[in-house]
Symmetry: D2
Subunit: 278 residues, 4 copies
């Protein structure tokens, strides 16, 4: 008996659910959970099913492909730990939360390495028996620095996600394209408010009563990639911007870990710069 996650997106047409569920039925599969969504604007159909039964992965994939041949994206995934690399700079809270969750067995992930442009976090990472890779940007231009990172990343044959756990440098288009929809960032504001540098200072100056954090896939427009998760907390006039920053950390780490968990469990479709999440 094997368990599979089946992810399908396709142009919507009558009978898709019928055809797919017929494949499940003919192959004697149990449907454990099943979620569907049709985006009316674009006529796109999204479906995520978790099934179990006695069938090979490839055979299940082929059966579905045969049933709905037209331009559908079909993924059949046998759940296993995904390979992730974390990039950080100096702040500990987001990275620390992931390390503890990983240690507690909460994440379906192998952490291949933590890369940082500073060495402040080395001592922490070392304790978790995870390789810490210090790649300083000093004296290098952006492209040179990233090339070093890419060289290191290239030593792994398979990276599912790169998690930017408060990595405080902007990535080049080249880097981003290489890992399309694989880089998960945490932005320390309730996007699209306060794009760019020091959002807490911006929020303080604006006198907002709520601050937030946003986790999103990275694309080539700064802080404009598809949003995965957002959360907020209330603040008041007594919060200086450093107080907002301090309180904001608690939201940042929660949101990043939530987004990472959704990704690891294959719950996210990216579509039209948005996400569909089951």
């Amino acid at each position: 008996m094997s368990q599979y996650r089946v992810l399908i997106d396709a142009n919507d047409e009558k009978g898709l659910v019928h055809k797919i569920s017929t494949v499940f039925y003919k192959n004697d599969l149990n449907i454990l959970t099943n979620s569907e969504f049709v985006d009316k604007d674009s006529n796109k159909f999204f479906m995520r099913s978790v099934v179990d039964g006695d069938i090979e992965l490839d055979r299940l994939h082929k059966s579905i492909s045969d049933a709905i041949p037209n331009s559908a994206n079909i993924e059949v995934i046998a759940p296993k730990n995904k390979n992730i690399v974390i990039m950080a700079t100096k702040e500990m809270h987001a990275l620390g939360d992931i390390l503890i969750r990983h240690e507690a067995g909460e994440l379906e992930a192998n952490i291949l390495a933590v890369i940082s442009n500073y060495n402040d976090l080395e001592s922490l990472v070392d304790r978790f028996n995870i390789p810490f890779v210090y790649i300083s940007h000093e004296g290098l231009n952006r492209a040179e620095h990233e090339q070093k990172i890419i060289d290191y990343l290239s030593t792994f044959k398979d990276i599912d996600y790169i998690v930017l756990a408060k990595y405080m440098r902007i990535l080049t288009p080249g880097f981003v394209e290489r890992y399309e929809n694989k880089i998960i960032n945490i932005h320390h504001s309730f996007l699209p408010a306060f794009i760019g540098a020091n959002p807490y200072k911006q929020a303080y100056d604006r006198g907002v009563k709520i601050i937030g954090a946003t986790s999103h896939f990275v694309n080539n427009n700064l802080d404009e990639g598809p949003i995965i998760a957002q959360e907020v907390i209330h603040v008041n006039h007594a919060y200086g911007w450093r107080d907002m920053q301090r309180s904001g950390k608690d939201v940042e780490k929660v949101v990043l870990s939530r987004a990472l968990k959704l990704a690891l469990e294959d719950r996210i479709f990216v579509f039209a710069n948005k996400t569909v999440i089951f």
Copy 2:
């Protein structure tokens, strides 16, 4: 072209989705939304689909019944305004919120009447051209009072829901049974905390930092029916119990209206003293 809401609950077995979606496909129906859930503990399957197409309601019902004959509950509903009666006592906020939503066209409902054991709310209700029925409990025992209410309710041939908008009297088992899973109450606490009288006073005495409200179907155990919706707000030491009561009203009305809306849109299954909500 007609639109239908199809609600099915049944013992789970392989092929249910296949069989049902085959009915939709054979009848050339569009699936607008589709939600499914299997309760593993009890092996129960729940499904709510919204479909449109060119078919009679009875015929669609029969097609589904024929496809899944075993002990399934199948409802096929053509969306239309449901008939509701509101019961209240003296407080205006929950009733007022429903009246305004009704006036604004937000609710799929006809309000047949507002019944109260006091006449404080008569002036308000009158303005909305809704019958206000004053049935005082004075000088009557509980059964006599309820009989008067039942007599009045019996003048309507069809009542879908009775909404207790801060109706401050306990209903007898006889009354409750007569309208099983049709009476929606708002309890002014985060159930199951603070069952019974004056929950805000109880919450204040306990020194809680959050208060809430719970909307639920009424059954014969006070405040123990299936929960439909809950919401909370933060409070602090500066809140006396009357402050909690005042602030609580904002949550009560929101939660009751939310629960009512879910009921009117046929989104609620009741099961094992719980609700499944799509």
Copy 3:
């Protein structure tokens, strides 16, 4: 025995609390609540006290002025209903919420009138025995239309607040200046995200997972006045922009009513395009 709200803002200096509390003590006043805040950036001191005792308002004001003579703003207010005018367009939810709260006695306010550039809301307002004033903008330029509104407003000798309950027209600088920090608006987004027209459409297009509403005083930069209150709700991919709009109404009305209540209870200081709220 009289109760007063004392509001003081001043440049901060040592001894302010001492001097003010000495005035309270010498005049044998009870302090019911007392809140203070110092904005470090600007060295501004804010204080709101509620006191009761046997003293004339003018005499209390003079005693405080004598004690802290340097450029302080001192307000001593005997609580009473404030005079408000509501401006609306076509949507009922925010206006309706205020009308019901007013009817329930929740607001320290007299509603002098509801002004609208359409007559859709006339029937509702009439039922509450509040003057509905229809001032159409058709065939008028912005200045001409506003002049008609100003002419009407001028018939009242005292207006404390103008509440824009989804009034969908932009006010001119002249109008705004005339009622500085007296116009309370509800913007249907979590400002400063989605400034301007149709924020729900903007939010939908951006694929946010949270939407919100912001109540603020109006100044001459669209949607950029001092923020009084904000609230949010979670949404997901299944929300079209009209669903966001529908759900957003529940947040809008709550936030506007909350801001109005804060204003009516003299809890808001405006300062540096922000608010200090006690």
Copy 4:
């Protein structure tokens, strides 16, 4: 220049603020923040001020005592790291969150030791160079087990707080009395709902739509001590009780860390089985 936190609770009477602020003024102290509250039911006055200036701690304490001699509790505290001991059992999330915060310098605390009745967490604690003390309860009755813990705790000359980070054993009255208002627990429910064992199972069986966590000081009635902080998250029918438990962990750790922070910053008064928090 020294900074002090001044905490005062006393029977309320006219002139308290005057007398205390006069002390601050005469001693040329800056008031950085100042919070007051009067509990009307019990006529109790609470005040927390942060002041700085050129004065010895003892002298400031004496000056305040002299100014308000009647039965006031006066604490003058020079901020410094407090000594805490953490007790845990097997779960990592709450302990891990505190360890990371401590490592990041977020907590005003020295962690003297982590005590556990199992050794599962030893490896984690060791990495942070904090003593892990394994005191198994096997083969011991409750009193004997606690005596061993007390013996160990007695090796420290000063313990400010004992943090129960999911310590899954009930403490005896004797233990609790010894550390009155010094033991901070996290209960994995929204108290007072679901007191006792396996609250997530209880919550699941009841079909709630919100779950929560409560941090409180421990007293001799199980889960009935003064509440410090509470937080909730929404759940739905798709959550089995283990899903609630998993999701609940994120709330538990946030709430416990928040309560601990409030305690470390001397922001909590305990009074009538409640807390006043500034």
